[in-house]
Symmetry: C3
Subunit: 671 residues, 3 copies
C-alpha cells in the first residue's frame, strides 16, 4: 500500500532535503508527491525550461527508495504568463477580472491557456514519462476550487455560446427548451446569450443549469487535453489522476473520472475557519462519493490532513488520535493510498498556516509520531485489507445536476443540497448499514434499498429504472420535492411527485417552504414510527395518499389531515416517501424497520462510533472508529473471535474503544 | 365589478387555451390581463411586428365573453434590442452595468430606449386601440421594482445634470441650496456633478435627495411618453393604468397618477423569502396609499396573490381563507377590480415558484375553489358596495420625499420609514378608526385628527396648512424628529421642532438615537396614559414643554425631568407630540383618548380583527376580517340587524368570526 | 494653554460671524482652527486664488484676540480639479474608481495631485506664513481615514513597483524574501507585481505587508511634500501638525511625526453608529499612543467631541459630565491643547449630525455651559499642569506593522489587534499603573515592566533589546503568538516562541485558534493566580515549560498537562508568558503581583474610575476620573492633603467622586 507525503522541495534549502528524506524514511513512507505548483521553477520564462531542481529532487527522493507522483503545475500560471497573456484571467459574476496573486487564476475556456498548458505538460511528460521513480501523474490541482468553477469573462461567454450551439443545434430548440418566451428572452442570435452575470433579479433557471453543465464540461475538456498530452509520452505503467473536491462545485467528477486511471481526493475533515470537524457521516459521504466516482474503484487520498489547517483563518486543532482515525476511516471506505498534506508547514506564502506532519521548525513531534504509528500499524495487513470488498446493500442517489438545480433555486433559506443529502444518508450511516453513492447509470438490482433524497431534477431513464427496480421487489426511500423538474429545469405538468406519483402512490397538492426559525411537527401514526414525534424543517409536502399507507401525519392545525410519511406497495416492492425535513431519531427508527424488512445488515452503536465491514475470500474485516472526542464506548462485536489486525490482540463479545480510538479487527475465514 | 386573472397565453400550448378559458368561465371571471412581458412575441426582430399570437389570444378570450387588459411590454426589452443598443442597460451604484437576463434592464433616461418604447407602444395602440374586447391598458410593469428605480450610468448622469440645470437654472443657486461650500464641493460646471456612485464615505444629502427626485421624475416622464403615445391612437373608452409598488422606491406615485385614468396595485401580503405575511395594518397601509394616490379614486388590484410566491426562495403558504380575506380587505379599502396573479404557475423562467390559481399541473383544486367562492359571494352586492363611500376621519401624512430623506440619513440602525409610519398608523388601524393617507396638498379640515409621523423633511406650505388646521380646531399628532429639515434637505436653524415648535408648544434641546438593543423607558404621568409604562426604541426627543402639558416623561437617570409625550392647546385645536418610539399599547390608549375627545368613530376589537365601514345612500356596509390564523373571535356589531351580504344570513349583537374568516354585513337604509 | 474650537466661517453667513465670536469670547477660548476643507473657497477655479473670505475670517477672529490654526485643504480636492484630472481619484480593491462626492478622493501616489497640492499649499503659505494671528498649520485632515489608506489604481500599482524596486534593488532579493517560489509567483519583471486586488483566495502575506508599508510611506512622502512646501515660506514661530487617527490604518504615525513639530489627534470616544462610548482603557490607549508618537512630546487634541456624532447614523448622546471628563482625561494623559469639534452643527453637507458646542439653532445651552465650566476650571492651574511630567513605569509595545500583519492573517475570527492589545493594556490601566506606549526604538531600561502583547511580527533588534533588558533585571510580559514571524512576514524556523523561546523559558509545540463561541478554560496553579479560573478565548498556546515555572494550566481534557501561563527567570530579570486569551480578573491579579514584585506604583480603584498622576518640581497632580455613567464611587487618596486645583477645596483620605465626575487634585511640594 502507498503511504506518503506531499513535499515541496522548491520551498526548502537543498541542504535540508536530506534531513527531510531521512525523517520520511524513519516514518516509513514510500511515495512523495511533488511539483504541482512548480511552473515557474520549471519554466522560469516562456519557452525556457529548467528541470534541474525537479531532476535533483526526484533523484534525492529515489535515493531513499521512494516513488514519485508528479503534479502538472497548471493551477498556478506564473507572473510572466499573466503579464503576456492577460486574457487568460477569469472574471467573477460582476464581470470583474480576477487578478494575479493567488492560484487558479485562469479560465479553462481560454484557447491561449489551453495551448500554454499543452506545452508545459508536454515538456514534463517528455522528461519524466519514462523515469523509473515516477509512478504517476496528478493533473492540475483541485479543479474548480475557490470559486474558480464558474468564470464570466467574454472568453467564457463565447465558449458558452458555442457549447449551446453544439448542444441545441438550433435557437428554436434552445428557446423552446429554456422557455425563453418568458419575459421576452427569446434569442434570435447565439451572440445574444449572456453568461449569468449580475442582473436586477434572477436569471432563467434553465440557462443557469446549462451554464453549470457548460462549466463542468469545459473542465472535463481541459482535463482531457492534459491527459491526452501526457498519454502521448508517458509509460503505460504511469497512472494519471486528479485530486477532487466534492463541495457542490460546477464539476462533474464522474464524467471527468472516465479519462483518469483512478481518482484522488483531498481529505480535510476540518479546515480554515471551522470551529469543529464536520460530522462522521459527512466525512463518510465524501469517501463514498470517491468510491462511487469510478464505480467502486479504489482511490488515493492525495492530501490527507495532518494538522490544523487554514489560510488567514485557522480551524480546529485535531486532537491526538484524529490522524489515525481519519486515515483508518479513509482506507476502510475505499482509499488505497494515503498521502499526507503536507510534510512540513510552509514558512512563506498563503499556506503558512496549513500545518503539516512537521511544523515550521521542522522537528518531529506528536503528529510525526502519530503518522508513524499509523504506518507501522498498517504494515502487517493493509495490502490484503485494501484488496477486500466493501459490501454495500444501500444505494444513495447523489447527483451534481441536482445540487446545481438546488443552488439555483434553494426555495428555502434552510436548504443546502449536501445538508439534505446527509439528512437521508446519516440514518443509514448511524446504523452502520453500508452502501454506495450512485448516479442514474447503475444497476439498482444489487441494492436492497435505494435512497433518493431531494430528487428535484429528474431523469426519465432513472425514473424508469426506479420503477423497474421497485416492480421487481426493490425498496426506495424518496424525500420531499421528488419529481418536480425535468432535465431542462422545467417544472413537470403532472401532479407531484410527477412521473413518480404512481410509484409513491401519493399526490402532493399543497407544499410549503419553511424558512429559518420556522418548523412544523410530524407524528408517527403507524409502523415503526408510531407514537414518535419530530419537528419538521426546510419543507413540508402535505401528502394525499392514493394507494399508499400513511405512516406519519402533520400536527399543523390546517393540514393535520395530510400525510407526512407514506409507504406504498408497488409491484413486488415498496416505496417510502418522507415529505418533510424530519429529524434523525424518527428517520433512524424508520430506516431500522426498513432494514429489518429488507433483511439488510446493520448494527446499532453508540453515537459517533462507526463500523465498516469488508470481506475477502480469506478474511472478514471490521473497522471500529470512535469519532467521539470526549468519551470511550463499548461496541458489541459480531459473533466469533476477532483479532486486532495491528497488535494481534484477541477480542470477543464487547470491545472497549477509547475516545478517538480506531482499529481494524480481522477474522480469518476457514477454507 | 371586474374580477379576472393574469394570463400568459404565450407560455402555454394553444391546445391548452380552451381548457384554461373554460375553467376561467366556470370560475366566474370577466377580465383577463395579457401581454405585459410579450415584446419578443410581438416584435421578434427590430421593426418586424407579428401580432398573430396576441390577436388569437384576444379572440379566444373574447369568445368567452371576457374583457381584456393589455400590457405594454417595455419591462422586458428583448435580447435583439440589448444586443443592438447596449447603452439602454442601466448601471448599479458601483457603475457596473446591469446585464440582460431578467427584467427591467433599461434606464428610463436612455433616449434610444424612449424611441424604441414609443415604436412598440404605437404599434400596439394602432392595432388594439379600437378593439372591442380591449377595455384598457397597463403601461409597463412595476416601475422601479427590483432596484431599477435608481440607475447610475453615464446616460443617467447627463440626464441628472440637465434636470438640475432646469431646476436650479444657475449653479450659484444649486451651490447655495445644496451647501456645496461644505467639503469644497462647489460646482463650477454642470458637467462636474456626479450621480451618487460609491465614495469613501457619504454624499451630500441634498444631492442625494435631488437624485431621488430626479429618478422619480424621470420615470414620470417615461410613463407620460407611453401614455401620450397610447392616447393618440386608442379609443376614449379604453383606460390607461400602471401597477404600482409602494416599498420606498425613488418613485412618486401620486405625481405619476395624474397621467393615468386610475392606478393599479400588485397586492402580495406575503412573498418570496417571507416566513409570514406582513401585518394586517401593513397591508391596510398599502390599500390606503392606493386610495390616496388619486385622491380617493378606486383602483384595480392588477395582481392579487393566489398562492405561495417566490423566485428562487419561496415564502409562506397562504392558508385556506387567506385569498378571500385579502380580496375582501382590498375591496373594503378601495379596490374596484381584482385580477388574480397568476392563472397558472409557470413551468419555466424565473417565476416558476410564483404559484397561481392553478399549480403547474393545471388542475383546479383548493385555490381555484376558494377564488370561485370569492367570486360567487360577491355577485349579489359587489357593484353597489364598490360604489359606496369610505368614511375617513383621520388623515395620515405619508410622503415619498420623507421616505427618501430617511433612507439617506436613517440616523439609527433601527429606523425604517415604513416601520415608523406603521408605528403611528397601527394604533388607529387597531381601533378600527378610518382614515386616508394624505400628502401636503389636501384640505385638512375634513379630518378630525391628522397624524404626521416622523415629519423630518418639512414643507413650508404644509406647515402653514397644519397651523391653520389646528388654529381652527383640528387635532394633530406629531412624532419625534418633526420639523428638522427644509425641502432642500437642510437642517433648520430654529430650535426643534423648528417651524412647528410653537404649534407643539415645546422645545427639543436634547435628543438621542437609540441603536439596536438599546432602549429607554417612558412612563405616563397624565391623561389617558397615566400609570402606563413603555419601552422606547429608535429615538428619544428629550422635550422641554413651553406651553404644552406633559403626558409622559422619561425614566432615564439623566433626563428624567424631560417630557416624552406632550399635549398642547393651540388656537381652537390640540397638538400631541410623541417624542420616542414607544410601543403599541401606550399609543393605543393615547389614540383612544384622542378619538374620544374628537368624537371620532372607532371600535375596539380583538387583535387581528379588522373592521371596515362603508356608506352609500341605500346602505351601510361593515366588513369583518379576521386575520388571526389560529383563533376565531367575537365581534360586537354596531346597533341594529345586519345581513351577510353574500349569504343573506342575519346578525345582531355579537358575531362569531372564525379564524381567517371574512364577510361583508349590510344594513339597508330607510328612505 | 490653548483651548479652542473648530470653526467653518465659510459655512455661515458673515452676519453671524460676530455673534459666534462673541459667544466664543464668553466661552473663554483662545484659538480657532479654520480652512481645512476650504479649497474651493480659496481656489474656485484652477490657478485663480481668492483668499478674501479667509482673510476676513482671520481678521475677525484676530479682532477677538484669538489665535488661528490654518488647515491645508487637500483632503477635499474640488470638483473642477477632479473633472480636469480624473486620474487623481483612488480605486478600491476591486479596482473600481472611488468617485467625487465626499472627501479624501485622491491617491497620494498621483504625481499630478502632488503638484496641485504643492501649488495650493504654496499659495497659502505665502499669504499667511507671516500673519501674526496664525500660530500654526494643520496639514490635510485625518490621512488614510475612511479606507483612503489603501488605493489600488494603476497609478498606485506603478508607484508600488517603484517602491519595491528601491527597497529590494533586485527581483532575486524580492523573490527570495517574499518566498514567491510558493505557487509559482516568482516575478521576472517589476511590472508583473500586482497591487493586492481581489483574487480567488488570498495574496502572499509578504506582499500584503509590503503593500501596507508602501501605503504608509506614500503618505509620509506626501505629508513631507506639504511640510517642506510650507517651511519654505512660513515663519519659524508657526508650527506644523497633522490630526491623526489610530484605528489600524496603513499609516505609520511615528515615522510621519518626525516631519511635524508635534502631532494632533481627533478624540471621539463615541461616534456614528456606536451604541456606547468605547471603554476608558480604549480612550486611554489612544492618548498614550499620541504621547508616544513623538516620544513623550505633548500633543493637541485638534478635534475634541462636543456632542453626539455621526453621518447618516448617529451614536450615543454623551451625558452631562462627559465633555469635561474626556477633556480632563486627554490633558491628564498628555494633551497640551484642546480644540472642540465643532463650534456649531452644520446645517448642510454630510456632517449635519456631527453635533457641536452649539446645535443647528446656534443657541448656547448645556454643552456650551459644560465647555465653559471646563475652561473656567482650568484657568488657575492648566499651564503648570501641562508642563508637569507623566511618570511611566510600564512600557506597552504597540506596532502598526504587527497590526497590519494581524489584519492580513487574523487566524481566528475573534482576533482584532486593538482588542488584543487592550486585553493586555487594560489590567494595568485598571490598576492605575502608568506607562508609555512604545516601539522598538526605545530605551527599555527606564521601565520596570514591559508588556509585549501579540508580538507576532518580530524585529531582531527589538528581540535583542528585550533580552538585554531582562538580563539586566527587567520584567517582560509576553502573550500568545509571540515570536512567530520575521520582518518579511515569514514564519520562523525555530520552535516557538522562536527567537524569544530562551527568554520565556518555554516551547510551544501545540496551539489552537478558537473561533467565536468556542473557549477553553485555564486555572491558576501557582503564584498570585493560584485557585483562580478563567475562560480562554481567541487562542491557546499549549506550553511546554523548559526553565519556566508554571502559573496556570489548561483544563482541556487533552491538553490538561500543558501550561497556559508561565514565569521564567532569565539573567537578573523575569519573563511572563500568557498563552491564552484569558479574562481581565485573572490578568489583573497577575499584573498586581508583578507590580508588587517590581515595586511599581499602582492603585486599585472601583471599576471605571481612572487615576492619573503627574509630577513637577513644584507639585504632584492627581486626576480623578469617574467614567461610570450611573454610579458615584469612593477613591482612597494617596497620603497627605490634596487640593482641588479648580475649586481650592481640600481633600484627605477618601474622596467621593460622583458619576461622570472629574477633577484634578494638587499637592504642592515643599522646597
Amino acid at each position: 500500500m502507498y503511504i506518503g507525503v506531499d513535499y515541496y522541495p522548491e520551498q526548502w534549502p537543498r541542504e535540508r532535503w536530506d534531513t527531510d528524506l531521512k525523517l520520511m524514511k524513519e516514518l516509513g513512507i514510500n511515495v512523495v508527491r511533488i511539483a504541482e505548483f512548480g511552473w515557474s521553477v520549471m519554466e522560469p520564462e516562456e519557452g525556457a525550461y529548467d528541470f534541474s531542481l525537479i531532476d535533483d529532487a526526484i533523484a534525492a527522493i529515489e535515493s531513499y527508495g521512494f516513488d514519485v507522483v508528479l503534479g502538472t503545475p497548471t493551477a498556478t500560471p506564473p507572473a510572466w504568463l499573466i503579464e503576456k497573456y492577460p486574457d487568460v484571467l477569469p472574471a467573477d459574476d460582476h464581470g470583474n477580472v480576477i487578478g494575479f496573486g493567488a492560484r487558479r487564476h485562469y479560465t479553462v475556456n481560454s484557447e491561449v491557456y489551453q495551448q500554454l498548458t499543452k506545452q508545459i505538460v508536454e515538456e514534463m511528460a517528455k522528461r519524466y514519462g519514462s523515469h523509473p521513480a515516477v509512478i504517476g501523474w496528478q493533473v492540475d490541482n483541485e479543479y474548480g476550487h475557490e470559486k474558480s468553477d464558474r468564470s464570466y469573462s467574454e472568453t467564457d461567454r463565447k465558449a458558452f455560446q458555442s457549447w449551446l450551439q453544439e448542444k441545441y443545434e438550433s435557437l428554436d430548440e434552445l428557446n423552446e427548451r429554456w422557455g425563453t418566451v418568458f419575459w421576452s428572452q427569446t434569442y434570435t442570435n447565439w451572440s445574444q446569450i449572456p453568461v449569468p452575470k449580475k442582473v436586477y433579479q434572477e436569471h432563467n433557471p434553465s440557462l443557469l443549469l446549462d451554464f453549470d453543465r457548460f462549466c463542468a464540461e469545459a473542465y472535463n475538456r481541459y482535463n482531457r487535453l492534459q491527459v491526452e498530452t501526457l498519454r502521448k509520452y508517458i509509460a503505460d505503467r504511469q497512472f494519471i489522476t486528479h485530486n477532487f473536491v466534492y463541495s457542490g462545485l460546477s464539476q462533474d467528477q464522474k464524467e471527468m473520472a472516465k479519462d483518469l486511471d483512478f481518482i484522488s481526493f483531498d481529505n480535510y475533515p476540518v479546515w480554515g475557519g471551522l470551529a469543529d470537524p464536520i460530522s462522521p457521516a459527512a466525512i463518510a459521504r465524501q469517501h463514498d462519493l470517491c468510491r462511487g466516482t469510478k464505480n467502486g474503484k479504489g482511490y488515493w487520498v492525495m492530501e490527507e490532513l495532518s494538522g490544523a489547517q487554514g489560510w488567514s483563518q485557522i480551524g480546529y486543532l485535531p486532537r491526538p488520535g484524529h490522524l489515525k482515525l481519519w486515515t483508518y476511516q479513509a482506507i476502510s471506505r475505499g482509499a488505497e493510498a494515503i498521502v499526507y498534506f503536507r510534510w512540513r508547514a510552509a514558512r512563506y506564502g498563503t499556506e503558512q498556516f496549513c500545518h503539516g506532519i512537521l511544523d515550521h521548525d521542522g522537528k518531529p513531534r506528536r503528529k510525526y509520531n502519530e503518522v508513524k504509528d499509523v504506518i507501522t500499524s498498517l504494515e502487517g495487513f493493509a495490502d490484503q485489507w485494501i484488496e477486500s470488498e466493501i459490501p454495500a446493500d444501500v444505494g444513495f442517489y447523489h447527483d451534481p445536476e441536482n445540487d446545481w438545480a438546488w443552488q439555483i433555486q434553494p426555495q428555502s433559506d434552510q436548504f443546502n443540497y449536501i445538508g439534505e443529502f446527509l439528512r437521508f444518508y446519516e440514518p443509514a450511516h448511524s446504523l452502520n448499514a453500508q452502501g454506495n453513492i450512485i448516479r442514474d447509470d447503475e444497476d439498482l438490482s444489487r441494492y436492497k434499498v435505494v435512497v433518493v433524497p431531494v430528487y428535484f431534477l429528474t431523469k426519465k431513464t432513472f425514473n424508469d429504472r426506479l420503477k423497474d427496480y421497485v416492480a421487481n421487489g426493490g425498496t426506495v426511500i424518496f424525500s420531499y420535492r421528488t419529481g418536480v423538474k425535468d432535465e431542462d429545469n422545467i417544472v413537470t405538468d403532472q401532479t407531484l411527485p410527477g412521473d413518480l406519483a404512481g410509484l409513491a402512490g401519493i399526490q402532493v397538492h399543497e407544499y410549503e417552504s419553511l424558512r429559518g426559525g420556522k418548523s412544523g411537527r410530524v407524528k408517527g401514526v403507524a409502523g415503526a414510527v408510531e407514537g414518535l414525534s419530530s419537528s419538521a424543517s426546510v419543507w413540508c409536502d402535505y401528502i394525499e395518499p392514493e394507494t399508499a399507507e400513511v405512516l406519519a401525519t402533520y400536527e399543523d392545525s390546517w393540514f393535520q389531515d395530510r400525510a407526512a410519511v407514506t409507504k406504498n406497495k408497488y409491484g413486488e416492492g415498496t416505496v417510502y416517501y418522507v415529505g418533510a425535513g424530519i429529524e434523525s431519531p424518527m428517520l433512524q427508527k424508520l430506516y431500522a424497520s426498513i432494514f429489518e424488512e429488507t433483511n439488510l445488515t446493520y448494527t446499532e452503536t453508540a453515537e459517533n462510533v462507526e463500523l465498516v465491514r469488508r470481506e475477502s475470500e480469506e478474511a472478514s474485516y471490521l473497522s471500529v472508529l470512535n469519532h467521539d472526542v470526549e468519551e470511550g464506548h463499548e461496541v458489541a462485536l459480531p459473533e466469533g473471535e476477532w483479532t486486532d489486525a495491528a497488535s494481534g490482540e484477541k477480542h470477543t463479545g464487547v470491545l472497549e474503544i477509547p475516545r478517538l480510538g480506531s482499529l481494524v479487527l480481522e477474522k480469518r475465514k476457514q477454507h
